[in-house]
């Protein structure tokens, strides 16, 4: 059982949740994620560790409501508990000093981006971050991101905040102005696909953190498999970060829809 210590609502559908998980707090690094199961009948879902406090033995998750499980999680309050939390899973981001980092975060992808931005900054890199979302409400963690970035560009689809336009516009603006050594894109699969296409035009090495469907998170089931450079990789153990220019995003997008019908049905019967 892992107790919820704190909950902060960012927008209608996104909240930050701080939970007790002392062992994970100690061993996690930027790029890691956990798998949680809310209750006995719950499913296992992966969530990135957006931050941790070793002394207090807590980890921070930022959760967006997309279906049944994320909704149930967001309905829990401080003092409630989550039945199972396992991690840290995946490979940690390889952090080193490379020069200038161009980070791109889309929607709830901003949460997993934060610890990576923080770590690259700490390693002595110049960090320029582009935050993108459909509208102002969905831009989360802006203050925290600003704290660890040299420059921040904000893009919204509807122009309700920052500049109007897609994440790729923000990326191109930076790339045209300065030499970028490495790019990191985290967000919905479609956003990562187009970010990768953009950086590829300029031959900028790019990492994407993939959010495939998972079950165990330990390499046992293969539900999370993606094609990278034509080879099967398991996101939970070989990733979640891969060379974005080699990922077959179209296949990944298709596979993400595997349970769409079941999920919609489940959601409809759940809200009844």
């Amino acid at each position: 059982m892992n107790k919820i210590i704190k909950k902060v609502q960012f927008s209608e559908n996104v909240s930050k949740i701080v939970i007790e998980a002392p062992d994970i707090a100690k061993s996690r690094k930027a790029g890691h994620f956990v798998i949680i199961r809310l209750d006995k009948k719950g499913e296992r879902i992966p969530l990135t560790i957006a931050g941790a406090n070793k002394e207090e033995g807590t980890i921070t998750l930022v959760v967006q409501k997309v279906g049944v499980t994320s909704d149930k999680l967001l309905k829990l309050n401080e003092g409630d508990s989550i039945l199972d939390v396992v991690g840290p899973l995946g490979k940690a981001t390889h952090i080193e000093k490379v020069g200038t980092i161009l980070a791109a975060g889309g929607g709830v992808g901003i949460a997993p981006l934060l610890p990576i931005v923080e770590a690259f900054k700490e390693a002595g890199n110049r960090v320029v971050t582009v935050l993108a979302a459909r509208n102002k409400d969905l831009i989360i963690l802006e203050d925290e991101i600003r704290k660890h970035s040299d420059e921040v560009i904000i893009m919204t689809d509807d122009g309700s905040y920052g500049k109007k336009g897609l994440v790729t516009h923000g990326l191109e603006e930076v790339i045209k102005n300065e030499k970028v050594d490495l790019s990191v894109a985290i967000g919905p699969a479609i956003m990562m696909k187009f970010s990768a296409l953009t950086t590829k035009k300029y031959n900028i090495p790019t990492l994407a953190s993939l959010n495939t469907i998972m079950v165990d998170g330990t390499g046992m089931c293969g539900a999370c498999r993606v094609s990278v450079d034509g080879k099967i990789k398991f996101v939970c153990v070989d990733g979640p970060e891969f060379d974005a220019h080699k990922v077959d995003f179209d296949e990944m997008l298709t596979r993400l829809g595997a349970y769409k019908k079941a999920e919609i049905e489940a959601y409809n019967s759940y809200i009844k």
């Binding site: 009948k41 296992r44 293969g222 099967i232 595997a258 489940a266």
Partner: protein
Amino acid sequence: MKNSKEYYKEERNKDWRVKLRKELKTKERTKKQRIKMPEEDPDVRNKNSTEVNKGLAENVAVIEAQRCIDCPDPTCITGCPVGINIPKFIKKIEEKDFLGSAAILKETNTLPAVCGRVCPQEKQCEEKCFYTLKLKKDPVAIGYLERFAADFERESGKMAIPKVEKQNGIKIATIGSGPAGLAFAADMVKFGYDVTVFEALHEIGGVLKYGIPEFRLPNEIVDVEIENLEKMGVKFVKNFIVGKTASFDDLREKGFKAFFVGSGAGLPRFMNIPGENLIGVFSANEYLTRINLMSAAKPDYDTPVLSGKKVAVIGGGNTAMDAVRTAKRLGAESKIIYRRSLVEMPARVEEVHHAQEEGIEFLNLHNPIEYIGDNNGIVKKMILQKMELGEPDSSGRRRPIVIDGSDFEVDVDTVIVSVGVSPNPLIPASLSELKTTKWGTIVVNEDNMQTSIDDIFAGGDIVRGGATVILAMGDGRNAAAGAHKHLTESNN
């Protein structure tokens, strides 16, 4: 205690055994037919998850026990990887001392109720029975009798909790709660150690829980054994991945003095053919995990599973049989696609029979070469190739050869790939100095199961690649003996 001929002889010469042998002539014994296991009706059971084999009634078990002629040289024992004193436990059944029989099983086998159900007996103990070897008759039903005695004990409510030595306070970690880890933990706690089992998943039992389905091995049977281990003092920590949640060094710092790695062969293999990443193509592990561990087929559980109507399972092992029979139970038209013939199938013979009775179609000597999807990326067809058998290969089985131009299409909406597993890479990846083979299995000294790192022992599928429950348990026990010796010597 192990395979020593004198011990078996001494036991055989005890009065009670001599008396039983005199009560019924050998000729009377060998005249009897092997009993049949009562089973659920195939047309009923293929729609539910009740256990297929119902177990033997007491009087039937006694009759079968009488068939065993209590051989002076019991060859059956040589076929059992853990060397159970088979005639002794069977004669206890003949004597109607069922609890006594269970106690004998437990001398060497931590989970007899499990092994009696899932061991490939026809390739192990029963293959080496005098009846098979010399009389060319059906062997004594050693597996059924083992299950009978273990079930009797469990159902009697008088399950003996094995005696444990005085606690010595030395902390030992077991990584993985499959049969290898459980067997290791059981022996170490008996020696007096303070044993903690760390398990990555939210359930204890490894493949016994997430892989083997309820209709073959009810979870309750595994749970009772786990409760007994708890009563003996074993601690279980779920949701804890050694090498991730904490490193070996972290655990050493917390005072753990020795480790046993029983992390299994979790990594599913794929065939790398076109279309394998289409929606509806699963590994058997994913399919079985969704249904067994996550209860995906029950409506009140959140995890989804695609319930196809036309399911094809690729492979011929136990995992393939479990997957195809599970799909059948969920209402699908289900078939096995296997590239060799029925006789080469590695699955337990009984499972193949049960699958056939349940209406599973077998496309033997067939192999998929491609999957084709619809516009939404969902698998709708597969292309199969026909095979014929050539000369035997290195495994001694006849090699399947493609028949040119034999390709044809079959409609499917779910494909379950069950072509084997590789060792779970988590532990080797977290310990760079640990010696492994090119297949990713951990290298051990076979005498004591010690790895290239002094305080780490290993066994089960992580050492053998995909093997069996009983071999995993045997490894766990050998490792416990090895670790105990190592710790005793390094303390002096």
